[in-house]
Symmetry: C2
Subunit: 276 residues, 2 copies
């Protein structure tokens, strides 16, 4: 049986000795075990609490269900409009990737934009797989993106809001989170491209914006020294955002109508990357 | 085409006159339209941003997909272990409820507990439908619960943490949120029973707890005058929680092992309600 970190902590409450004093302790033990054994916590049957992302597109996979059955699911033909939900364990013994004709994966930050692209049929028109990250992506979401990239050779592009927190969503997909640095080779997709809203986009597309808050400014300054953003593209975009003192949401593209994002913005961003 | 409230606001940014000045204004317009026309915002093709819940159990439904196809989905046999995700629109023209042999629906607050019950096969053993509410349930989740209750005559029970915020999750399922009072007849399931953790459970099951925070205490005091909690059961439980000054999570039942919740706790709570 598998358990969550939280359950592992509570289980110890039933013990007489060797009890954990706070969940912090049992969480750290799980991380230490990962580092020492070079295994994933999923191998110890510890499962995360966050829910996985939704997937829509022509991707066929096979899930070994809780009853041990092999269930073949096509993430376009066999699911409803809300998509296939990534389970908490996506290792090979649980999820087998069968096939896909997708040219790329678009990993989308917000539900509103995911539903927009689904409604507009962008996965069919652009031959891609749409993934709704649901904010900071869960371990299983990042792991599945990594496996799709590695095993099926599909490029990944992240499409987020234009603010410092969204830049970190991209960084966690591409380079991993600092907390899970010891297993980023399992979770990170270093070739992931960013097609989210940048400071340049705010200017070029004349998007509706909000002013940066003091917390936003602090986060952007921290990113200036974050090794994950240490290249020319990110340094320029972060500095430009600080300078114009503005951020924008991906849904701001609706200023030009509901089809602008699929007819104009995404082709203009994905084209130069060779993805469309 | 449908749009989110956020898109509706941004669309107006492209207008010369009659522009909204803040999203607050366009949101209020949507609510006013609902009240005046007695229609749901879904009828105006306005869709919420929150994502819908996951469903596992022997429930067959038919979704009319974005391409107009009728897709029949059994929420046990046709989906992966993460379940069927409720789409943003669950009105009859989009989702048709076909059949179910379930004796009740268990609407669960946290992902950790949902996954526990799925792994333990509780939906099969107890002949029920498991729904992961994902915290405060979205409109489409509440609407689907209502329709299952009304059209297929299935009872609903909510299983949450034991704290004032979780009590409000139950209240929003059973009586609606204050914000959406004008449409609670579409969204609320007044016969929903509460089988979440109560102050009595904390004492009877000797559960691991945390102390109430000042915010928790404020919320409990507010609930003492909330008409949705104006009955003997809730008054006693809220007062008892204030008195013991403790709250507990549903996963605290793991103190007695990973099967305790399905073998002992839920049968003991659901039995007296005639659901198990």
């Amino acid at each position: 049986k598998s358990s969550t970190l939280r359950e592992m902590y509570y289980i110890s409450e039933g013990w007489d000795i060797a009890k954990f004093h706070a969940q912090e302790e049992s969480n750290l033990l799980a991380e230490d075990l990962e580092v020492i054994t070079q295994l994933l916590r999923e191998d110890f049957k510890l499962r995360p609490e966050e829910s996985g992302a939704s997937v829509i597109g022509n991707l066929t996979l096979e899930e070994i269900t809780r009853n041990g059955d092999r269930k073949r699911i096509n993430c376009r033909d066999d699911v409803g409009d809300a998509g296939y939900t990534i389970p908490y364990n996506v290792e090979k013994e649980k999820v087998k990737l069968v096939e896909s004709d997708a040219k790329f994966i678009l990993a989308i930050e917000t539900g509103g934009m995911f539903d927009r692209l689904v409604e507009n049929g962008f996965d069919e028109d652009a031959k891609c797989i749409l993934v709704h990250l649901k904010g900071q992506p869960s371990r299983s979401t990042r792991r599945l993106l990594k496996r799709l990239n590695e095993e099926l050779k599909i490029n990944v592009a992240t499409f987020t809001d234009g603010d410092p927190w969204s830049f970190r969503i991209h960084a966690s997909v591409a380079y991993g989170a600092i907390k899970t640095a010891h297993i980023s080779e399992y979770l990170a997709t270093p070739t992931a491209e960013f097609v989210g809203i940048t400071a340049s986009d705010i200017l070029n597309y004349d998007l509706p914006t909000d002013a940066l808050t003091p917390r936003d400014i602090g986060a952007l300054n921290a990113e200036m020294t974050d090794p994950r953003f240490n290249d020319e593209f990110w340094r320029n975009e972060i500095q430009a955002m600080l300078q114009i003192n503005k951020k924008a949401e991906q849904q701001a593209l609706a200023k030009y109508g509901l089809d602008y994002v699929t007819d104009t913005y995404l082709p203009e961003k994905l084209g130069p990357l060779g993805l469309m």
